[in-house]
């Protein structure tokens, strides 16, 4: 017995056929598996919903074709087949998070058509073709899911990291279940699961690229640092070798120079010894000459001292003579004063004159300095005696000047 297959590709979810459209000479059976169901509609009524059974000789065959031609049986006899197992639909998901980051991904929804809900597919067949596949359901619900669920939910997320949290997955499933329940029920579809697969965003790509760039830069830096360290090490070794060689050369040169200097020093010391001997000889000679001169000087000085001593003796002798003479003069004047006093002629003017004469006598040996003290001479207005301008009183009359 031939079997009529109501679908030949897994993409087909449901199909409605007219039994009269199946033309074959022999009748065919229809086998309904546990995850398949069939709704039989005849004359505009839903007659039965079948599953897990075999519809024997249900379609095709010459007699059925003939009956339809002569008007035997139902004129309108349709069958709606549907797969009652879960099927997945992929919806393109686009939106933006609160920070403006674009989010692209796929929304995976697992749906199911319950056996008792299969007749509701008539609502779809009314407005579309006779075959419903996954693409049809995606196209039918895509805009509604985007506008009612995805975009509003994404806009509440702070950033892309929030979209990847388990909370967002839960919220997305709740939102789909709550917001789309009515639309799904209308066509007999039950939502089982929903989850989102978010693609890598531009920001994440940029971060990834930045990270890769940083790693490459760090690696390049490390290589450069290693190379520089090697160069530095090589440079240090070269400098150390050059320094060692220079030190060796310096030591050699220093040795040669020291030897030459020692030789030269010996020559200098030799010459210095010669010069020292010459200087000593000259010094001895000069000492001898100086001793002669000193001796002459001492003789001269001794003679000078003798002259000075004779001079001092002569001056002392003269001084004694002056004192004696002064003493004699004083005695004479004292007698004259005594005689004047005895005679009553000792007036102040006489006394003053006496004193002046005595002063003049005392200054006589040193007449030159006395003359130096003598100022301009004038006459006293009282007595007409000679006086000097610097005097305070007239020695002749005692009048104050």
């Amino acid at each position: 017995m031939a079997i009529h297959r109501w679908r030949d590709t897994p993409e087909v979810i449901a199909r409605m056929i007219d039994t009269g459209s199946i033309n074959s000479w022999a009748t065919k059976n229809i086998v309904l598996k546990p995850n398949e169901t069939c709704v039989i509609m005849a004359d505009g009524k839903i007659q039965d919903i079948l599953s897990e059974t075999v519809l024997k000789n249900y379609v095709g065959g010459f007699t059925r074709w003939l009956g339809s031609k002569i008007g035997v049986g139902s004129r309108d006899h349709k069958m709606i087949f549907a797969m009652t197992g879960p099927f997945d639909l992929l919806f393109k998901m686009e939106g933006a998070t609160a920070d403006g980051g674009r989010v692209n991904g796929m929304l995976n929804m697992r749906l199911q058509i319950q056996r008792d809900d299969t007749p509701k597919l008539v609502n779809i067949f009314t407005n579309s073709g006779r075959e419903l596949n996954r693409g049809f359901f995606v196209k039918m619900y895509e805009q509604e899911i985007m506008s009612r669920v995805v975009v509003p939910l994404l806009s509440k997320q702070a950033d892309i990291n929030a979209v990847r949290t388990p909370d967002f997955a839960d919220m997305l499933e709740m939102a789909v279940r709550a917001e789309m329940r009515g639309s799904f029920d209308q066509y007999g579809i039950t939502m089982l699961r929903a989850f989102a697969v978010v693609n890598e965003t531009d920001l994440e790509k940029l971060q990834s690229y930045t990270q890769q760039t940083n790693v490459m830069a760090a690696r390049a830096d490390l290589v450069n640092e290693t190379a520089l360290a090697a160069i530095d090490r090589q440079q240090s070794l070269t400098l150390a070798r050059i320094e060692a060689e220079a030190n060796i050369a310096k030591a050699q040169a220093r040795g040669q120079v020291e030897a030459a200097l020692e030789s030269e020093l010996l020559e200098l010391r030799k010459q210095e010894a010669e010069w020292a001997a010459e200087r000593h000889d000259q010094s001895e000679r000069q000492d001898i000459e100086l001793d002669g001169k000193q001796r002459k000087m001492d003789i001269a000085m001794s003679a000078f001292e003798q002259v000075q001593a004779a001079k001092r003796a002569r001056m002392e002798q003269q001084s004694n003579a002056d004192l004696t003479r002064q003493q004699n003069t004083d005695d004479i004047q004292r007698e004259m004063m005594k005689m004047a006093a005895d005679n009553g002629a000792l007036t102040p003017e006489v006394m003053q004159t006496f004193l002046e004469q005595q002063s003049a006598q005392k200054g006589q040996p040193d007449s030159q300095p006395a003359s130096q003290e003598t100022g301009p001479i004038t006459t006293c207005g009282n007595c007409g005696g000679q006086i000097q301008l610097s005097w305070q009183a007239c020695p002749h009359c005692g009048t104050s000047l």
């Binding site: 546990p34 897990e52 319950q114 056996r115 839960d170 709740m174 279940r177 709550a178 329940r181 699961r193």
Partner: protein, 176 residues
């Protein structure tokens, strides 16, 4: 649930059959020629009850999400997933053949059928509790009650149904 009770006489299952008859429309108690239909009817009833629980939990989930009660919404979501898993188990559970029932190699006895009826009754009883609890859940959520506790209890009951239903296969394999 009468786990130690031995059902040897079909009359002992009468209570269960009547109870199941009240829950499952067209329940035929695995009568000859209607055993597969009975099995399908039980499964469909489980699916219908699961749908009812799912609808209640989805209502609470949507309100919790819109109110910003993420914790409650998450718990509702896990409950919905548990219900979906139960539906998948029931949808893809083995249905047996036309004859002999459930096994090509072994025959069916009345004793085993009675055991199966009792097991179905227990499954449906737990499921009805789950439906009632989900109804309480929605009511609690609407009246600012302890919705979190209710949704967790609902999930626990659904899990119990799922586990209990998985034992059905063992019961069927035990048919001799």
């Amino acid at each position: 649930m009468g786990g130690t009770m031995t059902i040897g006489n079909p009359a002992d299952t009468l209570t269960y059959v009547r109870a199941l008859g009240l829950i499952v429309g067209g329940y035929s108690a695995y009568q000859r020629d209607k055993r597969r239909e009975t099995d399908v009817a039980v499964k469909e009833e489980i699916l219908r009850c699961a749908d009812r629980v799912r609808t209640h939990v989805e209502n609470v989930h949507d309100d919790a999400y819109r109110d910003g009660n993420v914790k409650l919404a998450k718990t509702c979501q896990s409950t919905i997933e548990e219900i979906d898993a139960l539906r998948n188990d029931v949808n893809l559970g083995e249905t047996g053949g036309e004859h002999p029932f459930f096994s090509k190699q072994i025959t069916t006895s009345k004793k085993v059928l009675a055991k199966l009826i009792k097991h179905d009754h227990e499954t449906m009883t737990i499921l009805v509790k789950a439906v009632n609890r989900s109804n309480d859940l929605e009511k609690a959520a609407a009246e600012e009650g302890d919705a979190m506790k209710a949704v967790r209890e609902t999930r626990q009951l659904v899990s119990s149904v799922r586990g209990h239903f998985s034992e059905r296969r063992a019961v069927l394999k035990g048919i001799q």
